[in-house]
């Protein structure tokens, strides 16, 4: 089967700092891939290049076999097909949760209010936030804000969802409700790439885990292999460190 998303030898530097050094990655439709690795290993940058928020220096990113990093390509229609959720939520603070969700469908897809409203309400209901629709972001808990951010991305009916350390800014007791959202999406067949520090989540939910170190994928495989019998010394080193911290 053709991968939904494929990265071919992707390179990206910020000045002298190389953050992606020849990344190769294939994500099958409906697959949940977790990116793990220390901070600064390139997890976030990979997600941001897939969403075309960061232009790449070299290589290709294919969506359904179509090169979306082709120079001169209009980024907007591609971004509509790929949703991203950020570590710090990035909700629009001057809009209610509902307005946050409705903005892009109204302005980008040019849907009418009458069309957007029931769709948005259904999403809020699905993630248990129907009584928070008319609240402003600063009236919501971190976990609720992050769920609204997920709903906002889902409202554009994306084919792929990217999660950039979405639980890192949350209090420990709120992490679960956001991870549950990802699990729900997985059961509905969404293709997802999740950069995370939550090892137990990666272990239990991922179809494939990629270990990053200094801009390279040093090991990838099913979670049982990565967490049970890692082949690379650097993977073992990394896992030993994070699991001890827990």
């Amino acid at each position: 089967m053709e991968p939904k998303i494929r990265l071919v030898d992707v390179w990206k530097s910020f000045g002298a700092l190389a953050v992606c050094r020849g990344i190769n990655l294939a994500v099958a439709p409906g697959e949940l891939v977790c990116l793990i690795g220390v901070s600064g290993s390139g997890k976030s940058t990979i997600l941001r290049t897939i969403n075309l928020l960061e232009p790449i220096d070299d290589g290709q990113i294919l969506l359904d076999g179509f090169d979306i990093t082709d120079p001169g390509l209009d980024a907007q229609p591609v971004r509509q097909r790929i949703g991203i959720v950020f570590q710090s939520f990035n909700l629009f603070p001057h809009m209610t949760a509902l307005e946050n969700v409705a903005l892009a469908p109204r302005r980008v897809k040019k849907k009418s209010r009458a069309e957007v409203l029931p769709e948005a309400e259904a999403l809020f209901e699905r993630f248990g936030l129907q009584d928070r629709m008319h609240h402003y972001p600063d009236q919501l808990s971190g976990g609720q804000q992050q769920r609204v951010a997920v709903i906002r991305a889902l409202a554009m009916n994306p084919e792929v969802m990217l999660f950039d350390e979405v639980t890192s800014a949350l209090d420990p007791e709120l992490v679960g409700e956001v991870l549950d959202v990802i699990r729900t999406l997985k059961s509905s067949g969404m293709t997802m790439i999740v950069a995370t520090h939550e090892m137990s989540f990666a272990h239990e939910a991922a179809d494939k885990v990629c270990v990053l170190d200094q801009g390279q994928i040093i090991e990838e495989g099913p979670p049982q292999q990565i967490f049970g019998a890692p082949r690379e010394a650097r993977t073992r080193e990394f896992l030993k460190r994070v699991l001890r911290e827990k």
Partner: protein, 285 residues
């Protein structure tokens, strides 16, 4: 036991007070007393010392003449309405034009680079020249071209001078507001597929304008006063009216009347701005 004491102290502040509360209320009374005494001393010395100056009687007669004040004040108030009118038609134009300038400076598309250059040059020019000079150059220069009515009106060119100068300042404030919106907000909008223009209109600008409102209001208050600069071009607004009353009665009291008229607008406006700023600071906390 301890918590009992604490809750008891809170509810019975008037009767049983602990040592800290006694100390704090004594400190408070002390500072109030010092402030009142020093204010009284300063006021008293002004009231006593100033009339002792050799020229006081003359100054009093020519600046604080009650009779002339009463006679000229209605005329001044009438003329002040013209100031208000000029202010009222300038303010919205300034708001719109300065916003346009701020947006020009923010454009990222290379095709619009000339606009950016224009906005930069414009702001340098009009922030670098005194408002009164712009008013003179436009107010006397353009009617000098011999244009037909109404295009030789000092109202039009005076107002334009105010608009051009003030827009340069206000657009800098708008720009600082736009730049203060974190890049992650733009990234979020972009990731949803919003265009640059929609991102600016729906995400960045509403937040930016809210943030810089207090700073803008400070300039609005300044504009109220600078309308008086147009008096040099001819319109009989309050300053010019005061000038002709001065010549008529050979007395400066009308200028004091004009000052009072400005204060009735600017002092409440300034207080209101202060309150806006306090509210803003509280919200950010």
């Amino acid at each position: 036991m301890k918590s009992n004491e604490r809750s008891g102290g809170g509810s019975a502040t008037a009767t049983v007070r602990n040592r800290r509360q006694i100390y704090e209320s004594r400190q408070y009374r002390r500072s109030v007393t010092i402030a009142s005494i020093s204010t009284a001393v300063v006021l008293a010395s002004i009231v006593i010392l100033v009339p002792m100056a050799p020229g006081w009687e003359r100054v009093k007669a020519s600046f604080f003449n009650w009779e002339i004040f009463v006679k000229t004040f209605p005329g001044l108030a009438q003329a002040f309405l013209l100031d208000i009118a000029i202010f009222l038609w300038c303010a919205p134009v300034i708001a719109a034009w300065s916003l346009a300038l701020a947006l020009m400076r923010d454009v990222r598309a290379p095709a619009f680079y000339p606009l950016k250059l224009f906005a930069i040059g414009y702001n340098d020019l009009f922030r670098g020249v005194p408002v009164i000079l712009v008013a003179y150059l436009l107010g006397f220069g353009i009617p000098g071209l011999g244009l037909p009515r109404p295009w030789n009106s000092p109202y039009i060119w005076g107002s334009l001078a105010l608009t051009l100068s003030y827009s340069a300042y206000v657009s800098e404030i708008f720009r600082s507001g736009i730049e203060s919106i974190h890049e992650s907000q733009r990234a979020a909008a972009k990731s949803l597929g919003l265009s640059e223009a929609d991102t600016m209109r729906f995400v960045v600008l509403p937040q930016a304008i809210r943030r810089v409102m207090p700073a803008c209001m400070t300039l609005v208050v300044a504009l109220v006063k600078d309308v008086a600069l147009l008096s040099f071009l001819g319109p009989v607004e309050v300053l010019r009216q005061a000038g002709s009353f001065k010549s008529l009665y050979a007395n400066f009291t009308p200028y004091v009347g004009a000052a009072i008229l400005f204060l009735t607008v600017t002092v409440p406006a300034t207080r209101w701005v202060d309150r806006l700023i306090v509210q803003q600071n509280q919200k950010q906390r």
